[in-house]
Symmetry: C2
Subunit: 346 residues, 2 copies
């Protein structure tokens, strides 16, 4: 494992691919590798790219990648597909992209599918970002298809989040925007050569002006504390990030320069007043909570006999116990089992 | 609280509304109420309705509701909006529906938004279904906007799941289908008067024939065990549910009768060979795991001092500890704290 990590740090692509596979599938040696990598992380800029289906996220990611390559930056791409819990729906988009960017050693692309649980995907995405980060990529683009909690989770690993919209999507799209706007650091109206683009931009602007609850990036450092900023009650001394709206036609690579500038502006903003450090701490806290949840649960399943759980499930089914009562019984068994053991290692 | 539950069981709408609010917001008395309700649950048929944005799920739910009302069945509707983690995006659809179905005492509609965590939404949805179930509704329709893990979670509370498609949605839709098809018991092609409907149906049929990994409903009872059925290696003696494709134009209430029949067929199928009992046990198991996860975590946060966690977060930020190491330390503090206490109640 040590040599694999060394090879990664030397920039060997095969080591990168193998470590990503280890991390995605939670293979043996994963924790050892991540521990060895960890001191070499924290240098890449992680950009989340999300939005409803049909907005052209993949071509946008391609165009952004090319733009960063032109100024000599290396780019890692992680395409996460939370819409495909069982089969590899991410593969297709990956192939299209491959054709476009293949042969450039400054680009590395990896697709990831859900494999059963969203929690598992967050963990795998986070660790895959670390592997790419340690491998020395300047920019890591994390693209996610779909809409909902999945974005919110994945965004929690990014420093800058792009929310992509496009003119002329279905009637439910408005509902999606309401939730997703609040995680946007930069709003991208892609396919901006299509009819209806003015309406889309106007709609987004109106929603921004409505003053949604402060987003992650609209937190400001205030007397050493990170506080949410309500844009309607905002002291002029506070730095405040208002998501800009950038129009792009990613198939023609138009508007991409403006988008790169918007991302750089956001990066500069985060660098101010310790906002980035606070954001990092929040990311770490979320990660620790995720990991603790998983660790606690797998320990419980080790300690409490499966038979007891099966019996309780049956008793809930026959309405003998409520689910809450069954949980109390399991917790009691867990505590008794735990105190019966001499030492417990996490 | 007792009188509130009694009033619910007597069919009082105000008690129903109040209990739904208690359950949605985890207000005081929730567990007590749910315990009192629990013996009166398990009688409603719960139908999940999901699909990509723009497929017309809300009008379909309306049309289905009217069809059930015509045959004298009472209908509870829970509209879950996992795309709106912060603000109430579900409200709009709710109002439209209200106008359409209001004044009918055999219908009750409730919208729910995410409020921060998807896990919380699953819990709240599950408990809201129980409240409506105890209130005596024959049919409970659980509608969810969006695509991804959220559906999968919400579907885990339903007996029959409808996945709604529509012709002519964006280019990413294919990717969504791949994941969502596997949770479908009935496939609905809504807006079937639109151009491209033949393509949509053909595409769905092709994907079904591809033989995706066995879905939840494609599990069969086999020598007392529930086993997945690979449709390509399927003994003829096994009962097997293949999701039918039903075309509807919900705005004109066309195809709804066929849809109701498809749902009844699925219900009859589940009634066979103990499949429904196995499905129920799976639902309970998932619920217990969810609740245990929450209980374990909130107990940990009570036992481990916040200071210690804050220090560890800082040490991860400075790369002194890896996240895994920090988790080990916290688990150790948790176990020491737990064994230091005399009795612990879940």
């Amino acid at each position: 494992m040590e040599t694999l990590v060394d090879a990664l740090l030397r920039g060997e692509r095969r080591a990168l691919a193998r470590l990503l596979t280890i991390v995605e599938n939670e293979r043996e040696g994963m924790n050892q590798a991540l521990t060895a990598l960890f001191p070499h992380t924290g240098r890449a800029w992680v950009i989340g790219v999300t939005g409803a289906p049909g907005t052209g996220k993949s071509t946008l990611v391609n165009a952004l990648t090319k733009a960063y390559r032109e100024v000599g930056k290396t780019v890692g791409i992680i395409a996460v597909d939370p819409t495909s819990p069982y089969s590899g729906g991410a593969i297709l988009g990956d192939r299209i992209r491959m054709r476009d960017l293949s042969g450039d050693s400054g680009v590395f692309i990896r697709s990831m599918a859900t494999r059963g649980s969203l929690g598992g995907l967050s963990r795998a995405t986070r660790d895959a970002i670390r592997v790419m980060d340690a491998a020395g990529f300047d920019i890591i683009l994390v693209e996610t298809v779909g809409a909902g909690q999945s974005e919110v989770d994945i965004v929690r690993t990014a420093q800058t989040t792009l929310v992509v919209e496009a003119p002329g999507l279905g009637d439910d799209v408005q509902a999606i925007k309401a939730g997703i706007l609040e995680i946007a650091d930069v709003l991208v109206v892609n396919k901006a050569d299509r009819p209806g683009v003015e309406n889309t931009v106007r709609g987004l602007r109106a929603m921004l002006e409505l003053g949604h609850p402060a987003s992650r990036s609209q937190l400001v450092q205030h007397h050493g504390q990170l506080v949410p900023v309500d844009s309607r009650d905002n002291s002029p001394a506070d730095p405040l990030w208002l998501p800009p709206i950038v129009r792009t036609v990613s198939t023609e690579e138009s508007g991409i320069e403006e988008l790169v500038t918007a991302i750089e502006n956001h990066r500069a903003y985060l660098g101010n007043e310790g906002v980035l450090e606070v954001l990092e701490r929040q990311h770490i806290e979320i990660e620790l909570v995720d990991r603790l949840r998983t660790a606690l649960m797998s320990r419980l399943l080790n300690v409490v006999p499966q038979d007891a759980i099966t019996t309780l499930i049956h008793q809930v089914q026959t309405r003998e116990y409520t689910p809450q009562e069954a949980v109390s019984v399991i917790l009691k068994l867990h505590d008794e089992g735990l105190s019966g053991q001499s030492t417990i290692s996490g």
